[in-house]
Symmetry: C2
Subunit: 106 residues, 2 copies
Amino acid sequence: MGEFTHLVVVKFKEEVVVDDIMKGLEKLATEIDSVKSFVWGKDIESMEMLRQGFTHALMMTFGTKDDFTAFQAHPNHVEFSATFSAAIEKIVLLDFPVTAVKPITA
Amino acid sequence: MGEFTHLVVVKFKEEVVVDDIMKGLEKLATEIDSVKSFVWGKDIESMEMLRQGFTHALMMTFGTKDDFTAFQAHPNHVEFSATFSAAIEKIVLLDFPVTAVKPITA
């Protein structure tokens, strides 16, 4: 069993202060040890036709799928999920075991 | 300027042999030095409502945005893009500078 990634592609509602959401996510990722890595970004490049209105991508990676399952049930995650859900206009979620062709190195 | 990620979320056409596409992508990522990392995965977890028909995520990361721009113009990429485009039923692309809250380590 290898690493497991939780990928979120999202468009936030217009009135949402994205910085506040990101601060909440950063806190979550920092507090919960099983989050092995957390990176995110805001699209600055792709054509509107190809990004289809989505603006942000968030990727949390865990050492194992079990770590991800535990993360989902963590009270801090459950609490933050309510805030996050209220902020989104649309979302795509994918959860997958990572196949590393060229592994990521720091 | 930091790292730059090219994220592709995709649903392939039913008749497509996904392994062949992935082999093509692996070749591309291996041949082109500016591709710093390449990881991908097939969703095994999220609910259909949340993944909205998308099945695979591909993430290529570059040292800089300029490396990504050069990659896009690389003849091998241009050539493979035609094959890839013909294989997809739907796609979302996001291209973004990476904000690493918990940096990824090998």
